[in-house]
Amino acid sequence: MGEARVIAVASGKGGTGKTTVATNLARVYAAQGRAVQYLDCDVEEPNGHIFLKPRIDRREEVTVDVPEVDAAKCTGCGECGKICQYSAIVCIQDQVLTFEPLCHSCGGCWLVCPVDAIEKKPLRIGEIETGAAGDVGFVSGRLEIGTVRTPSLIASVKQHVNSDGIAILDVPPGTSCPVVTALRGVDFVVLVTEPTPFGLNDLKLAVDLAREMGLPFGVVINREGIGNRDVETYCQTEKIDIIARLPDDRRIAEAYSSGKMIVDALGEYRDRFLTIQNYLEQARK
């Protein structure tokens, strides 16, 4: 057992408190002089900046390659259309059509083209902001409106994880491709849930995903006091560690709604995040 260095904060259900846990946890590490980064992988709706209020030093454009056909070279053989599993490129009577929103940039078309008629054209899918919020390194991806290349952008955000120090990934909700991309390769997954039937249902999905991916994980129960005890019972039965609990306190909601961090506004809850940190120091497989 060692310290988890790259930590994902995830949940099946949206709105359980991933960003609250991720941002406050980052601040707790930083307060002890630890090198720590917060990376917002929720690129369709990033909101970590609202709480961390970072200074942005750099904005970089993220692009993916999509095919562009040189009609002068194209012989209309149709091989590109045959290999494409998404109908993003199709050959109709010697004419090749491309549909950029459907392309997954697998590169199959330009590999199979026998006359090298397909060029790689960059398509902008979003941007990444980097900067700092006090001693917390800040990275945040923002997907371009109208594009669906969420996993590609998340993979680019993760390339900003430093080779040493702690990295806390704020993962999008759910259990689909963006979440899988965000979780791949992390040392530990903190699953934030609320003790309600909705919370439990989606927690089970997230647990299934973490197990499928072979990732160690534990649970943080947020808004303890609402709902029922079924999440506790489930975790006991499944032998899942409940790392920490945050109570259902109206003052937390008030701080959240005005963009304040719990560690700043409600110092008495600071030890809850320390508890998570202490757990993570021993959590690596």
């Binding site: 998404y86 109908s87 009577q93 059509l97 459907l102």
Partner: protein
């Protein structure tokens, strides 16, 4: 000429399928001989690109016109590239659709009439 009619079934009296990309079948009919063939549409369950794939199916089948209920932008663009005439708003049975086509009752579409993913349940 050969025409393709989106069909819910495999018979001439099957109903016209209102979706193009995710139509169950394409009825390929020769308007001179009335020779009829029902082609199953593998794009029904496609994750994406169903309209493009379906357009390729009817073009490869040799059809010169498509009769359907609704057609989205990607399918329309692909059909246009294949110089396929597109008729939308077609209802009734396949036989009635063909009869209406021969009688000039259907109006050729100027463009797509629905957005992408119309045939997946309005998503």
């Amino acid at each position: 000429m050969k025409i393709a009619i989106t069909s819910a079934g495999t018979e001439m009296d099957s109903q016209v399928d209102p979706r193009f990309g995710r139509a169950a079948y394409f009825a390929i009919v020769d308007t001179e001989t009335m020779a009829f063939e029902a082609v199953e549409n593998a794009n029904v369950a496609a994750a994406g690109g169903a309209g493009i794939g379906s357009a390729k199916v009817v073009i490869d089948a040799g059809a010169e016109a498509v009769l359907t209920g609704n057609c989205g932008p990607n399918a329309e663009r692909t059909l246009r590239a294949g110089s396929i005439k597109l008729y939308i708003g077609v209802t009734g049975t396949v036989a009635e659709a063909v009869e209406g086509f021969k009688a000039g009752r259907w109006q050729e579409a100027a463009g797509p009439n629905v957005g992408s993913h119309f045939g997946t349940g309005g998503a």
